[in-house]
Amino acid sequence: MTPEELLELARRRCEAAEVFVVESDETPVLFEANRLKALNTRQTTGIALRVIKDGRIGFASTTAMNEAAELLNMALDVAPFGAEARFEMPTQNGLTSVDLYDPATEALPTEDMIELGQSMIDAVRHHTPELQCEGSVRKATQTVRVLNSSGNDASYSRTTFSLSLEGTLVRGTDMLFVGDSDASCQPITDASRIVETTVRQLELAKDFAQPTSGQLPVIFSPRGAAGAIVGPLTIAFSGRTVWQGASPVGNRLGQETYDRRFSFWDDPTVPWRLGSRPIDGEGVPSRCLPLVENGVVANFLYDLQTAGLAAAKSTGSGGRALASPPTISSSCLVFSGGDASLDDMVAEVKNGLLVEQLMGAGQGNVLGGDFAGNVLLGYRIENGKVTGRVKDTMVAGNVHEALKEVAAFGNELRWVGGSLHVPPIYFARLSVSSKG
């Protein structure tokens, strides 16, 4: 049964219907213990149906494509118990133009991916021969189609290419974890940025520094900042959290809430980024949406149903996975930078930390804005210089408090995980706890 036939069948028995189809083809090349270990091929096809029947939402999905007809019965089974629909299916209103598909990614031979991964591992081990490396080079093509009973029928394809390296150095009972990753819709042919970052980490972590405790200055690298602040911010700016009254900034719309130098946007239109999309998972065209402008809370993210509940408009933020109905999700989160270089920031700190990665920062009261994590990779700063690696140390704070007054935003912004564009951030005081 084709998606059109399923939609037609559903339309005849329901007030409204929407069919979502996703197809993907992924080829991961995996390295373990410093050498090529496995080649994988993953083909996935799935179809989901959302219906509105007697004013209520029913949802079902399947990966058994030859039994797609059964989907309508499954969705109708649950619809009598479903949520009241507060939206109408969007009509045909086009796609925002975004560069996401590069045939060069699809065409890249496996042999080239193997060579890229092996050369990356060899280069890092040239610096530290006893480093044990795992790595991956992946390419994928995904095609998404959303069609509904209001006549909207939109689809797009995205290629992705990603490269990652994780090095482990075990000395006695001490373990050091280094590495980096990079991702784009276009092929990455040069692993030198990952190699350079990893080598720099190995250099900075060569010596141990004395642990330190107290309310101290903490500088986060872009990767460190992404791990600590993005989770709590995403929840706080979700229209669903706001509508429930659970967002710490839900009543701050239009008010100055953060440091005036702080701005961030949800931008699905950045070319060649993994979070970008021409439409969201409900077929609503994408647009760039400021969430915080110069410290002022500007907007929250909405999907169709939440917008209906909250008397707001969809911001095109209906994120989608096959097995669940649309939920609010960000696309690319783009943060404003500042004018300080990382070296300038470090030079200013008498006693503090430079954090590249917090482990477990997403546990605890994320909804309230809290983050607390063990410094997986971070260094002590003493008198303006990095003096070595710290361990057994926790950094804790509250995102909404900490962003009220920021010592400096850095000018070396980086893409983290393919969909977050983040500067280094320097907080004047965060709680640092350690033994000793």
Binding site: A38, N40, V78, G82, V170, M175, A323, P325, G364, A396
Partner: protein
């Protein structure tokens, strides 16, 4: 199906090949606040082929079983491109078996209306508590049928029904938001879902109480963990390090994790085993067809075992332990935990508290993660201990530590045991895998608690 799978496996030039096909029916009900957020059904059907040639692996996954033999050929050719050494796979005798799920109380026989009514009741208890801002009530069930065949002649059919329920309450006073929750689960048994009214009430009351509770001052404390959180500790702090895929090709790790090494006091015994019946991590055969076992990891404080797949066991010259698991057909099996627990000791809770002048009693879990050496996990509830007595409620805390010093600092083990069945484990993108973990109350000296 057996004929198709066996025909597809025949006549390839590979050291080992397996095919796995799984078919899952899932139902879920999700409330956020007063609003039902999602009620839906999913069917997930797909298969995969994994092949080993000269130490290299090829893996192909798909939703469409047509042309299965071609998919085997593709996996074999991928493996051949990778492999440049000798394949070392532990020998496991072929098994032909059909395993019935051993159902206690079948959730498939409970009408959707009845399930929704229960969730309505729990959500209503939470939402009608004063000062509660919102809730998150989740019910999920999945009925998974897996067929496995390999080139050694194994053919195994297994079925399991996982049931989970999560009750979470969020309180808000002014800008201050606090959350309390319970995560529960069971294998092949709906019964626990029917009587969670008290837990719903407790979650709501805890969340409200936390808003006015003080925050712990960060630093190193003597901490006492309740059985649920101690189970999470066992899983995060030690369990992951016993997974031998982190060890088998790393000479430095092999030195660190050498069998016979002292890790803790003679009172410490840690076990993992899928053959321990009736728990979320229980099964008869793992996803390589190896029979489930019960493995002592630490006995009387000494490292005596580790968790294996056929490859890690083969390379290390140890016995496979039946711990190779895949979350579904999209992934190859990797070394995972099953039911991981500390065996009970002698002490009562009063014994543990005795002599603790200033400490923290932590209960229930929120999450946890590990880097092998370092672990962090967060407690759902925390209380100050002063002069051997449990005193006022604190805001939830995050605990962190170094595995090697922390196991040595685990100085007392209680005489009770409980299992945490509400969690799912994540590793290498495969999440949430059903596992359980358990422990008696335990006491750890000098544990770092994050605070402000």
């Amino acid at each position: 199906m057996r004929d198709i799978m066996e025909a597809a496996l025949r006549g390839h030039n590979a050291d080992y090949i397996e095919i796995r096909v799984d078919d899952t029916d899932a139902t879920r009900i999700i409330y956020r606040g007063r609003e039902l957020e999602d009620i839906g059904r999913n069917r997930s059907f797909g298969g995969c082929v994994r092949a080993l040639v000269s130490g290299g692996w090829g893996f192909v996954s798909f939703n469409d079983l047509d042309g299965l033999r071609d998919k085997v050929t593709l996996a074999v050719s991928q493996a051949r491109l990778v492999g440049h050494e000798k394949s070392q796979l532990a020998e496991v005798p072929p098994v032909v078996d059909i395993v019935a799920p051993g159902i206690v109380n079948d959730p498939r026989n409970v009408p959707l209306a009845a399930k929704k009514r229960l969730m309505d009741e729990y959500n209503d208890i939470i939402c009608s508590t004063p000062k509660i801002q919102t809730s998150n009530v989740v019910y999920g069930e999945s009925d998974k049928r897996v067929i496995f065949a390999n080139s050694r002649g194994s053919y195994i059919k297994q079925e399991r029904i996982d049931v989970i329920c999560r009750l979470s309450a969020t309180a808000r006073v002014d800008g201050d938001v606090q959350q309390a929750s319970f995560s529960l689960g069971a294998l092949n048994d709906f019964s626990f879902v029917e009587s969670l009214h008290d837990q719903a009430r407790e979650a709501a009351e805890k969340a409200v109480a936390m808003v006015s509770a003080p925050t712990a001052k960060g630093g190193a404390y003597t901490v006492i963990l309740d059985p649920i959180l101690a189970g999470v500790f066992t899983h995060e702090a030690f369990g992951h390090l016993s997974e031998s895929d982190f060890v088998y090709e790393n000479p430095q790790m092999q030195e660190l994790m050498v069998l016979g090494k002292q890790f803790g006091g003679s009172h410490l015994n840690i076990v993992d085993g899928a053959s321990v019946p009736g728990l979320r991590g229980s099964y008869r055969y793992d996803d390589e067809g190896t029979p489930a076992q019960k493995t002592y990891l630490i006995q009387e404080g000494v490292l005596v075992g580790r968790l294996h797949s056929q490859e890690t066991a083969g390379k290390m010259g140890e016995r496979p332990t039946g711990n190779a698991r895949a979350i579904d057909y999209r992934f190859p099996p990797i070394v995972r935990m099953t039911n991981t627990y500390i065996e009970p000791g002698e002490a009562t809770l009063e014994d543990l508290l005795e002599g603790v002048d200033e400490g923290i009693y932590v209960k229930n879990w929120y999450g946890g993660t590990t880097s092998m050496e370092m672990f962090t996990f967060s407690a759902g509830e925390a209380y100050m201990i002063r002069n051997g007595r449990v005193e006022g409620l604190l805001r939830p805390v995050v605990l962190t530590g170094n595995l090697f010093t922390t196991l040595a600092n685990l100085d007392a083990i209680g005489n009770d045991i409980e299992f945490n069945q509400g969690g799912g484990c994540g590793k290498a993108g495969q999440m949430p895998l059903p596992v359980s973990n358990g422990s008696p109350h335990i006491r750890i000296r000098e544990c770092v608690v994050g605070g402000r």
